[in-house]
């Protein structure tokens, strides 16, 4: 018979406790419950926490996967998006969607620039933007809705988020200006760099 080592150890501890308690208390009556309590170990199920209800989950589960599941009702187009952009986004991202001269950019560079840069990725000076780099349009909607505008995240309506998404995609020549963006059309948008990503090959074998 094969007994795992930790089981042996545990019974060894039980035994030694039993002997010790028996020695000091002068009887096994106290020793047995102490030994058993120690031997119980950790359960695998705990009844802490509460069941999360559907409305509670729905209130926070707004992340949009690439198939668009969970996209909210609403719609927006280039024209509506232009006015949202000009009032809400242009101050940081620039009237031409290429950032604002003189503004410090995010540490990793290029975060404020939204369009341009196609054909630059295979160079020492790549211009990384929504247009040139982002693989999925659903990410654009998701990110604007959760984190933009910077000073008032979550303040845009779903229609406004759809609209400004349409505006950025059209300015980046990814969709036509006439395209209406909604739950149906957004996941179908083909981003130029959709196939630009590869799995992590590391650890690298350096020469």
């Amino acid at each position: 018979m094969c007994i795992p080592r930790d089981t042996l150890t545990r019974w060894g501890q039980v035994l030694s406790k039993t002997i010790a308690v028996a020695f000091f208390a002068g009887g096994l009556a106290f020793a047995v419950p102490i030994g058993l309590a120690h031997a119980q170990g950790y359960p695998s199920k705990y009844d802490f926490g509460m069941r999360a209800s559907e409305p509670e989950i729905a209130a926070v589960a707004t992340a949009i996967p690439t198939d668009g599941k969970g996209l909210p009702p609403g719609r927006g187009d280039y024209a509506a998006g232009k006015s949202v952009y000009e009032a809400t986004c242009a101050a940081c991202h620039g009237a031409d969607l290429k950032g604002v001269a003189g503004l410090p950019d995010m540490p990793s560079g290029g975060a404020l620039r939204l369009i341009g840069g196609r054909g630059t990725l295979a160079s020492a000076n790549p211009v990384v933007t929504v247009e040139s780099y982002w693989p999925y349009a659903t990410t654009l909607f998701d990110y604007i809705r959760r984190a933009m505008p910077f000073s008032a995240p979550g303040s845009l309506s779903n229609d406004e988020v759809y609209a400004v998404t349409a505006y950025i995609l059209a300015e980046g020549n990814i969709i036509e200006k006439a395209t209406v963006i909604d739950a149906e059309t957004l996941p179908k948008v083909q981003m130029p760099n959709r196939d630009g990503f590869v799995p992590d090959p590391r650890p690298e074998l350096f020469k």
């Binding site: 199920k45 705990y46 940081c92 780099y133 982002w134 984190a147 309506s157």
Partner: protein, 470 residues
Amino acid sequence: MTGRFMNPERVAAQAQAFAEALSRLGEPITEAEAREIAARHQCECREGMFALAPTRRGLLGSAGLIAAVGATAMLPRASLAKAPPGAVEYQVPEDPTKEPGRLMGGDEGYGSRSQFETDVRWVNPTRTASFTPLQASYGTITPSGLHYERHHAGIPNIDPARHRLIIHGMVDRPIKYSLADLKRFPTVSRTYFLECSGTTGSEIMKAREPTVQRTHGLVSTSEWTGVPLSTLLKQTGLKPSAAWVLAEGSDAAVMTRSVPIDKCLSDALIVFAQNGEAIRPEQGYPMRLFLPGWEGNISIKWLRRLEVSEKPFYTREETSKYTDLITTTGKARIFTFTMEAKSVITFPSGEMNLPGPGFYEITGLAWSGRGKIARVEISTDGGKNWSLAVLQDLVLPISQTRFRFPWIWDGTPAVIQSRATDETGYAQPTHQQLIDERGPLESGPLFYHMNGIQSWAIAADGSVKNVHPT
């Protein structure tokens, strides 16, 4: 959609908010840099070995009291109004053995450091990251108040009584946990490093930053205490197709990252304590995800939600950022989680001054996301010859290891380097090896996961500079 949007009051209020946000964001980098340099040059211990630590004068100067600096420097310390961050200003007696010290309890039960200690985190000009003062680090643990920070929309202030962690998606039973619930589970404590994957990225093509704080300061080590995520997922159960978990923060960026289920079921933790007390707000209070050995960004802070799914979500932070563009092919590596072996000499390091030839103990830190550090080698001749450093025991996996190397400097120019090898046999590469592998990057996105060998040049006058050896 026009109703709310076109409201002129709302538009005006928003414009005002933007103007304010922009004025904060828009402080020109050059101006901030100039302030930083000015503050540094006021340092009264400029001649000393550890010249970098800002003195009281520097701190006061950078706080906008530059005019007062000249005068106050002449006065005894006790007459200064302001103690350094994390300290309290007390009178300094002529002879501390001739009068009783202060009564206990004056600190209301929470202690502070000496008023003579001034090392602080360096905050970058855009105020999006702060850097650990590695040049003044001892041992391996980073004090919680000096742990590096990287926030994408500021530090939220969260009342733990109102905070919940919801686990849902492809589970049998969606459950929400309060902080009190979490603390009832069996817990573990582990000492792990945490490193931003952008650390040293800007150093790949040339030596840019002056000090080890600014090159390598986005790495820190703490003892973290929490509940294994596997324990929580055992409570919710997992559907057979569960393959990824979306983690979401409760900050204004509502930061999201997708995590492979294998990591969640191995060493992932939900952490609520750091170095023996509650985690700091900057580190995700009241609870954060902690994924040992992986890039810092994925250990979501202020964790409020875990959604089990079949596929990754391709969030903004795992596509447009935190992907590694290979500039020779134009393709980018995605889901590059592991932080590979790395090391840096913290003494002597950039902007220090060695007072003269003689004995110095070279020391620094080494770490690997894949396990334990097996060895650290030191070169004092720019990489021609290497010798083993002594590793401080205990060497822990996925933690920082302190190394030491005795050195007699003969007073001639020298370039000192450290090279770490981890228990998998992986050895820290040179910058050139990384460039050969991933392509050069002059501008654009960050060169993430840059773990190249750092070089410090010591000139004949003892001054130490960040260099790339030729």
